[in-house]
Amino acid sequence: MTPEVKARIESLLQENKIMVFMKGSKLMPQCGFSNNVVQILNTLGVPFETLDILADPEIRQGIKEYSNWPTIPQIYIDGEFVGGSDIAIELYQSGELQQMVEVAMAS
């Protein structure tokens, strides 16, 4: 990953309390796993930003190195990598995701 790509990722994470790197857009996710994450965040009713990695090959590769996580989607809350679709579902079902989001929104 080039320093430029790393800087772009870091500025996205700084500007957005909840940031999702996904395939497709919020309105038209291009993958079931990405769709899961969007649906969960919509259900929580919190503002979040997404980036379509299909349209951005540099970020697509860079974000996997950044988090040491080989798959998309990836959720970041307050700049911290939280997980992908499976972990998001587990955290949502246990109520932890709601808490994390509330803490982030209040900060």
């Binding site: 993958c31 040491n68 996580w69 080989p70 939280v82 997980g83 992908g84 499976d86 972990i87 955290l91």
Partner: protein, 83 residues
């Protein structure tokens, strides 16, 4: 195309101590992995351990969509499920 049994064997061989169950259709897989080595690690670290042994298959997209559920033996017992 890779079968769920093959994915299961790969994970089992590379993750010592793990009990592995994989189901899937050759495109999408779901793996349940129970290992004492997950103890004291959060879910991200647990999943990273699994992804770590599947780097080549994920990078080449031999395995495209893999859904993971990881448990310590204690956490697995608490779910009341059997593999």
């Amino acid at each position: 195309m890779i079968s769920p049994e093959q994915v299961q064997t790969i994970i089992q061989e590379r993750l010592a101590n793990a009990e592995v169950k994989v189901v899937g259709d050759g495109q999408h897989f779901e793996a349940i992995i129970v290992s004492p080595d997950f103890a004291g690690k959060n879910k991200v670290k647990q999943h990273q351990m699994v992804y770590g042994v599947l780097q080549d298959e994920l990078a080449s997209e031999t395995i495209h969509a893999l859904s993971l559920k990881t448990f310590t033996p204690e956490a697995w017992q608490a779910t009341g499920q059997t593999a």
